[in-house]
Every structure is written in structure tokens, then in C-alpha cells.
């Protein structure tokens, strides 16, 4: 008995050591092939642009290409679902945002994933502040007048958005509910067409991410009434904040963050998270994000734990907002 035990012990130790080492080596070798980052929106949109900027830098740190794969649909939930169901080996990650990981549970009752449980959060990438914009001949000088006008005449107004579950939809739901407004909500296939009709004057107002709107505001084709931030955005210094305009409760950021499927090994999560933070600290990448109007100030949420907290609080927040407005089903 003892002899067998000794022999087995002799074999067991090196074998275990070899196994652990090789596993460690295999993990240390991550990534050995290109990583796919699922962006659940069409290419060219704000989330896609943020994703590509960040991914480019992360690719350099990790030594392997991060290939962006656009899987659009259902307000981003299709792509996120695919990501959530992928193998948790670190070779599939995804860029989620305020909609897919915040408002989605309230908007889609049959949502097949749980933002707070089915993911291994990596970190917040960049947020894009929300602006309230209107057609250029809208009868209001500033946010106060705008709010008053909307409150009084909301039934006659048309608000544009990019589809149930989109950022423009959820943020304007909050806006409308704060004002008690009840406009007709006109849906478009993406913010591009919506913006087009706003410029043309076919619709009255919209809540959207700053990225898309800066050039239009600068050219004067639409009017900006307020940016939903505590301080003015450097990309649009002439636009007052909602705090200044008398509507401090309207503070929203369309945040974009990187996630991995639940069960991704912690070492891989750490590697990705470090690469992400490095990208956000990099001068060039930061500048590109800031030029777009992006906001990289929420450093706390750039860690996995911080992001998890953000997701949980956002899910709760949007649940309350959307249920209150009756927009949630």
C-alpha cells in the first residue's frame, strides 16, 4: 500500500505541476489568435466608432488583432445575446451600452440575458453625453422656454427617435416623463434618418448622443437646448447644461462598456481590463474620443467591479423610469 502510494505520489506531483504549468502557460499565452469584439449596432454609429478607436489601441497592447463584428438588431440585444452565449474563453467580447445593459430589461420583457448576471464586466470605455436638440425654428430661446413650450403643447409636437430600446428612445422617455409631456413619438431606422428629418423640420425635437450632433449644431441646422452633464462639454462650449437651464434632474450619459461572457477566466478579464485602461489613458486615443464629444471621466467604472456597480444601478434606474412612463411592456 505504502509503496503504491509513494509511487503514485511521485507521479502525481510532477503531473499536477505539469498540468498547472501548462494551463498557466496556455493562459499566459492568451491571446494567441485574433479576438472578436461584437458591436451590437451598425457600423459607423457612435458605439461602433468608440469600439473601433478603443479596440485599435487594445490590439497593440495585447499583440493580437481585435476584430470588430457588427451584429445589429433589436436595439442591440441580438448582438449582446450572441456575445453572452459565446464560449467564455476570452476570444469573444462585446461592447455594450446604456441601452443593452441598462434599459433593455425594462424595454424587452422577454430579454434572454440578464445584464447584471450573465457577463464578466471588463470596464467602461467612454460615455457620450446626451443633448436635447430641436429644429432650428423652434419657438424657444433657451431650455427654460423650451421646457415651458413642450409642457404646454406636447400633444402637438413630434419627437424623433431611433427605435424602441435605442439611446434616443430611452433618454427622451426620461425627458418626457420629467416634463409630463406626451408628444407623438416618431420612429426612424437609426439616428441618421431621424436627424435628417429634424434638419428638414419634419419633426420637432430629439434627444441624442453628442457625437452625431456636433457638426449640425455648429452649422446651425438644428438648435441645442441643453447638454445633460454637470459641466459643459468641451466639444460644444456654448451649449448650457441642463443644470444651468433649470432641469438638473435630466442627467444622462450614454455609456459604452466592454463585457465578456460570464465564466471568462479572471486572468483573461484582468488582461483585457488592463489593456482597456491603457487605451483610455493613451494620449492619442483619449484625444480622438474627446474630439467626438466622448466623456472618459468616470474612472471608477473603468474596472470590472466599478462597471458591475454601474450596470446594476443603471438597470434599476431605467426600470423605474420606463415603468413610470408606461413605455416598458
Amino acid at each position: 500500500m505504502t509503496r503504491t502510494a509513494r509511487i503514485s505520489w511521485k507521479l502525481l506531483l510532477p503531473l499536477t505541476a505539469a498540468a498547472v504549468l501548462s494551463a498557466g502557460v496556455a493562459r499566459a499565452a492568451y491571446p494567441e489568435r485574433p479576438i472578436t469584439m461584437i458591436v451590437p449596432f451598425a457600423a459607423g454609429g457612435p458605439t461602433d466608432v468608440v469600439a473601433r478607436i478603443v479596440a485599435e489601441n487594445m490590439s497593440r497592447t495585447l499583440g493580437q488583432q481585435i476584430v470588430v463584428e457588427n451584429v445589429a438588431g433589436a436595439g442591440g440585444t441580438t448582438g449582446i445575446l450572441r456575445g453572452a452565449q459565446s464560449a467564455p474563453d476570452g476570444y469573444t467580447i462585446m461592447m455594450g451600452h446604456m441601452g443593452t445593459h441598462g434599459a433593455a430589461p425594462a424595454v424587452y420583457p422577454e430579454l434572454k440575458y440578464d445584464p447584471t448576471k450573465d457577463f464578466a464586466p471588463i470596464g467602461l470605455a467612454a460615455g457620450t453625453p446626451i443633448l436635447v436638440v430641436a429644429r432650428k425654428d423652434f419657438p424657444a430661446k433657451d431650455l427654460k422656454e423650451f421646457v415651458a413650450y413642450v409642457k404646454a403643447n406636447s400633444e402637438k409636437l413630434n419627437e424623433a427617435h431611433a427605435g424602441v430600446g435605442s439611446v434616443s428612445f430611452t433618454t427622451c422617455s426620461l425627458f418626457n416623463s420629467l416634463l409630463g409631456a406626451n408628444p407623438t413619438r416618431v420612429v426612424y431606422r437609426g439616428t441618421g434618418p431621424a436627424l435628417n428629418d429634424l434638419v428638414a423640420g419634419q419633426v420637432d425635437y430629439m434627444c441624442d448622443q453628442i457625437v452625431n450632433l456636433v457638426p449640425q449644431i455648429q452649422a446651425g441646422t438644428i438648435r441645442a437646448y441643453g447638454v445633460a452633464l454637470p459641466a459643459r462639454s468641451p466639444a460644444l462650449p456654448e451649449v448650457p447644461t441642463t443644470v444651468e437651464g433649470g432641469l438638473p434632474e435630466f442627467q444622462v450619459s450614454a455609456w459604452n462598456a466592454v463585457f465578456a461572457p460570464k465564466g471568462t477566466p479572471p486572468e483573461i478579464v484582468k488582461k483585457l481590463s488592463d489593456a482597456l485602461r491603457k487605451a483610455l489613458a493613451d494620449e492619442g486615443t483619449r484625444k480622438r474620443l474627446l474630439d467626438l464629444g466622448g466623456d472618459v471621466s468616470n474612472v471608477a467604472a473603468q474596472t470590472p467591479e466599478g462597471l458591475q456597480k454601474l450596470v446594476e444601478s443603471e438597470v434599476a434606474r431605467w426600470n423605474k423610469v420606463l415603468k413610470a412612463t408606461g413605455q416598458a411592456k
Binding site: A42, A43, V49, A74, V164, T184, P215, Q218, T221
Partner: protein, 500 residues
Amino acid sequence: MSDLVPNLALGFSVAFSAQNVLLAFTGCLVGTLIGVLPGVGPIATITMLLPVTFGMEPTGAIIMLAGIYYGAQYGGSTTAILVNIPGEVTSVITTLDGHEMARQGRAGVALGVAAIGSFFAGTFATLVVAALAAPLVRVALLFGPAEYFALMVAGLAFAVVLARGSVPKAIAMILVGVLLSSVGTDLETGVERMTFGWAPLSDGIDFAVLAMGVFGFAEVLRNLDVNERRDVVKKPIGRLLPTRDDLRRSVAPILRGSLLGAALGILPGNGAVLGPFASYTLEKRIAKDPSRFGRGAIEGVAGPESANNAGAQTAFIPLLSLGIPPNAVMALMVGAMTIHGIVPGPLVMTKNPSLFWGVIASMWIGNLMLLVINLPMVGIWVRFLEVPYRLLFPAILLFSCIGIYSVNNSVSDVFLSAGFAVAGYALLKLGFETAPLLLGFVLGRLMEENMRRALAIARGDLAHIVQRPISAAFLALAVIVIAMAILPAVRKRREEVFVE
């Protein structure tokens, strides 16, 4: 306008730099090669190749991407003519007469005319963009949802005219296409329509999947059905390039097509899709012998292909002047520009003139490249048709499958297209044409979205929509076109009955 010449000069000086010429060439070449792959259209191609442009400076990157765009469009037309598989929505029209010409041994002529027509249309459109961008944008802004709805209805009416055989059956197919387009998640309410909870359908049916199944695969099945050797292959390939007579017949359609395409391409919201339709309808209507259409009429290739290309160029206008992309491909361009640090908008023209005019000038260069690349390649493409069909069609199957799979990396798409193949074959056996089905599919969704938008804005007031001048005009046009399509058909039916 008086600035036009100096601006163009600036543009050409930028675009003619050795590096940019090379980029334009590479873009066109790669775009054509990928566009030839059935099922892979410009969007997929640009998305795939976007990362390649990251290292380049912005103007060069946009030039290359634009080259890929035109190349992919042209590649799509090539497959449409050779094997009856439309690579892009706009190539569906090209299949009607283009493929017929191929079957008659005139593939080279079809390809040649398409290339030449596209070049002229592109040149014309480049001038339009350069000279008229700003005023045209204002026209485009007059189009609201009501106008688009009417325009799409007119488009559906045009689709009726495309019918080669029975008009009632064509109308039925258009309706079925519209019905199919509603499968998926409803944009406005988020409710799933007719998807039976099957996830791959929740974003609707992909055009490529439907086109491949109902057009491409079904065509293969139909050819296999024939109890004889494939004549097309055995027929001498004949001329590779158009004869003088061919060119003569094509001149007017090319001019008309360019005008139509350029005009419709400006409209944001995919107006460019209608260019080829409108051109084909017009040519068929004014032809001395309309029955030639659908049987290899060269005008049916020259006009639509020119409209196609002109529309693709003028689609840049809303992008360059307003900064608002009119369709998905342009949205990609916006993304590409943004990634490169240029945010497109109304001020790009003044803040970044070398980019603006450089892109416009390179449009023309891109068109030139296409001609240079494709005319010599006509011979190569046509040789493919000489491969015995028993080997050619499995190769088509393989290429198509790769194309379908690569659109969404989705296996269900492949299965769906197999299903559509069987359905398409059944449709053909029952005497239906599948081109109207595809057209109804494309236009149906656009029509419905705009209708609902218009009604929402008008608070349900139908009269309001009909009374607006532009939409009233298009609706009237639709009625006229349908009436003109049905009447002769009724007369012909009576003649046929007598003949039998």
C-alpha cells in the same frame, strides 16, 4: 458655381497624388473582386476592409473606401449578368436583360455596356456633385416621410412594369415580397412579426439570403430542370465588346439613366434604390418594341446600370454637404471619417476643402479605374461561362454559400436560403417571376416605415398626405404607370387567346 473650376483643380491635385491613385485603384480592384462574390455587397465589403484603412491618412482612406464601394457595386452587376445573382439590391434590374444577353452569348457586350455606361454616368454625377451639391441638398430636404411613402408606392408601380409575363402574377409576387419584408421585429413597437420566436428571423430576412435563394439557387434548379445541354455555354461567345450598333442604341438610355439615377440618388433614405427601376421602366415605356425587354434588350442594361452608378455617386451629396448619411453604406463612410478624426457635417466643405474636393475628384478617378480594370477583365469573366455547366453550377453554389455565410456569420442564413431555393423553384414552376418578389421585398419595408411615420406626424390624416404636392405627384405617377401596364396586357391577353 464660379468656384467650380478652382475647386475641382484643388480636388484633382489631391486625388492625383500617386498614393491616392494607388489607393483608388486598390479599392476598386478589391471591391470588384469581393463584390463579384454572390451575396457579398458593398456594405459587407466595406465593413470587412474598414480596419485596413486605419493606418492611412483620412483623405486616402475615404478614397480607398469609396473605390471599394464602386467596385463592389460593379462586381455585383457582373454576377447579375453572368449568373443571374444580384449582388446588391440595385443589381436586380440588371439581371432581367443582362442575364438574358449572357444566355444569348452576349455576356461580353452586356458587361462592356455596363462598364461604359457606368463611366459616363459617374462622370456626369461627379459634375453634379461638384457643382450642385448645396442647392440639391435643399431639394432633398423637401422630402419628408409622406413624400418618401409616395415615392416608394411609385417604385412598386414601376416594379409591375418589369413583368415579362403575366401582370397579375407579377402583382401577386410584389405583394408577397411586401409581406415577406414585414417579417421581423417591428421598428416602432418592438413586437415580433411572424417570426415564430425564431431568433434568426427577429431582424427580418436579409436581402442577400432571399436573393440568393429565390433567384440564384432557384435559377440553378431551373437550369438543371432542362432536359438538354445548357445552350448558353455551347453558343460561341462571340464579341467581347459592344458593336457600334450596340453603342448607338445605348447612348440615349445611358443619358436618361444618368439623369434619373443622379436625381434619385440625392434623396436620403435610399432613394438611390429607385434609380435603376425608374430607368428600366422609362426605357421599356418609350421603346418602339417593348417586348424586347426581358429578352436581352441592351437598353435594359445600359439605362439601369448608368442610373445605378450615378445614384451611387450622388448619394454622397447628403453625406458631404449635410453630414447625414442617406443609406447604410454612407453611414459606414461617416463612421470611417469619424474614426479618422473628421466629423462630416455642413462645414466640411469649408473647413476641410481638400478632403471634400479630393473625394469628389477621386469619384471620377474611381470610375476611370473601374473602366480600366473591368473592360479587360470582361474576357476573363466571359471565359467562366465556358466551363461546363455540370461544374459551373456547383462552383456557383459554393461561392454563394460562402457569400451568404459571410454576411452575418450565420449558419441559419444558409439554411434559410436553401428553403428559399425550394420556394423559388416552386414559384418558377408555377409561372411566377421572382424579380418582382425581390423588388416588393426591398420597397415594402421602406414604404411601410414611411407610411407609418407620415401618418404619425399627420395624426392619422390621410388627406393631408395626399394633398402635399410632391407626394401627390408621385402617387399620381404610380397610378398612371400601373394603368399603362395593365391596359396593354389586357389587350395582349385577348390576342393570345385568339392565337391559341
